[in-house]
């Protein structure tokens, strides 16, 4: 058994004692029960259906969706412009460049 294993097993043995389990459970209950601990969340203080909470929720949803809409619009615009440019090039250019005719793999023995 290595030193680390001994260390871990020692502390696990200490924590798993009934008095420590009771202490940890009491501490967690006190943290949850104390309303001061949840004041870090700006919309958790108010209850469901509260206008302030609704306002924050709608604002957050809007601001969350906007970057996707903006970036999506730009990407869509670039994609459509690319498609248009490709179609325009296909109409104007000759399909096969002459340089291709200068080398034929089959006839050259390769």
């Amino acid at each position: 058994m290595t030193v680390i294993n001994r260390y871990v097993s020692f502390w696990l043995g200490q924590i798993m004692k009934p008095k420590w389990i009771v202490f940890l459970c009491s501490g967690l209950t006190a943290l949850i029960a104390n309303p001061l601990t949840i004041q870090a969340c700006s919309v958790c203080v108010t209850g469901a259906g509260d206008p302030t909470a609704d306002a924050f929720n709608w604002s957050v949803l809007f601001l969350m969706a906007t970057p996707y809409a903006v970036v999506g619009s730009i990407a869509g615009g670039l994609f459509l412009a690319y498609r248009r440019a490709v179609a325009k090039r296909e109409q104007t250019e000759t399909p096969e460049p002459i340089v291709h005719l200068a080398w034929n793999d089959k006839e050259s023995g390769r």
């Binding site: 206008p51 809007f62 730009i74 050259s108 023995g109």
Partner: protein
């Protein structure tokens, strides 16, 4: 022979008879022709697109702040605050949308090298934009006279911030448009080169498309 060739180690050199020579010439075959990607637009076009994205995010922040106060208030507008002129601003909205249409026509005109039509459409757009700003300014003066100021309430500060920034953008776009109009009169734009007009048209379309959203949110909701 076939068996010995299959049993050959991979790192062995190929026998001379196996190595093929080209029937004519020598060296490597010519590289396939390079076919570059088609150009989708000028750098100014892409730059303007990015700029408009940033502008959209700026207005999204302002709209987000407005939503917080609007949805969070039980009574809106707050008591003892004047009501906004919905009808006149509705007509003003139509005027601004008409300016976007004439702006699109100017872009079509330059693509067929119709210089007269281009100048006429740009002039119409500038006039319609100017009328929009004048009506907005007149309505603002009335609202200030009725007691709605930036410091009167959250309602007033939100209204002047949101609508004011849009008005400022229209004013900036109008100055840009006047510069483009002068350049169009000088014959600087042609079918092949009209990037300045195209970017101005993009910006104008953006400020026009933004207005119905703000009108619906601030005046109607």
């Amino acid at each position: 022979m076939a068996q010995s060739s299959t049993a050959r180690r991979l790192d062995e050199a190929l026998p001379q008879s196996v190595a093929k020579q080209p029937a004519f010439g020598g060296g490597e075959p010519p590289a396939p022709p390079v076919r570059p990607n088609p150009t989708i637009g000028s750098n100014a076009w892409v730059g303007t697109l990015m700029f408009l994205g940033a502008e959209a995010m700026f207005f999204a922040g302002l709209i987000g702040a407005y939503i917080v106060f609007r949805v969070g208030s039980a009574i809106w507008p707050p008591p003892f605050q004047p009501r906004l002129p919905v009808g006149v601003t509705g007509v003003n909205t139509l005027i601004l949308i008409a300016s976007a249409v004439t702006m699109r026509f100017s872009l079509k005109a330059v693509r067929v090298n119709d210089r007269k039509m281009l100048i006429r459409c740009l002039t119409y757009t500038a006039v319609l934009g100017g009328i929009f700003l004048l009506i907005q300014g007149f309505e603002w003066l009335r609202l200030i006279h009725f007691g709605l100021t930036v410091s009167s309430s959250v309602y007033g500060s939100l209204f002047y911030t949101l609508i004011g920034f849009h008005g400022l953008h229209v004013f900036g776009a109008l100055i840009w448009l006047l510069v483009v109009l002068v350049r169009a009169k000088q014959g600087r734009f042609s079918r092949e080169g009209h990037v300045g007009l195209q970017t101005c048209c993009m910006y104008w379309t953006f400020v026009v498309a933004l207005w119905p959203v703000l009108y619906g949110l601030v005046y109607l909701y």
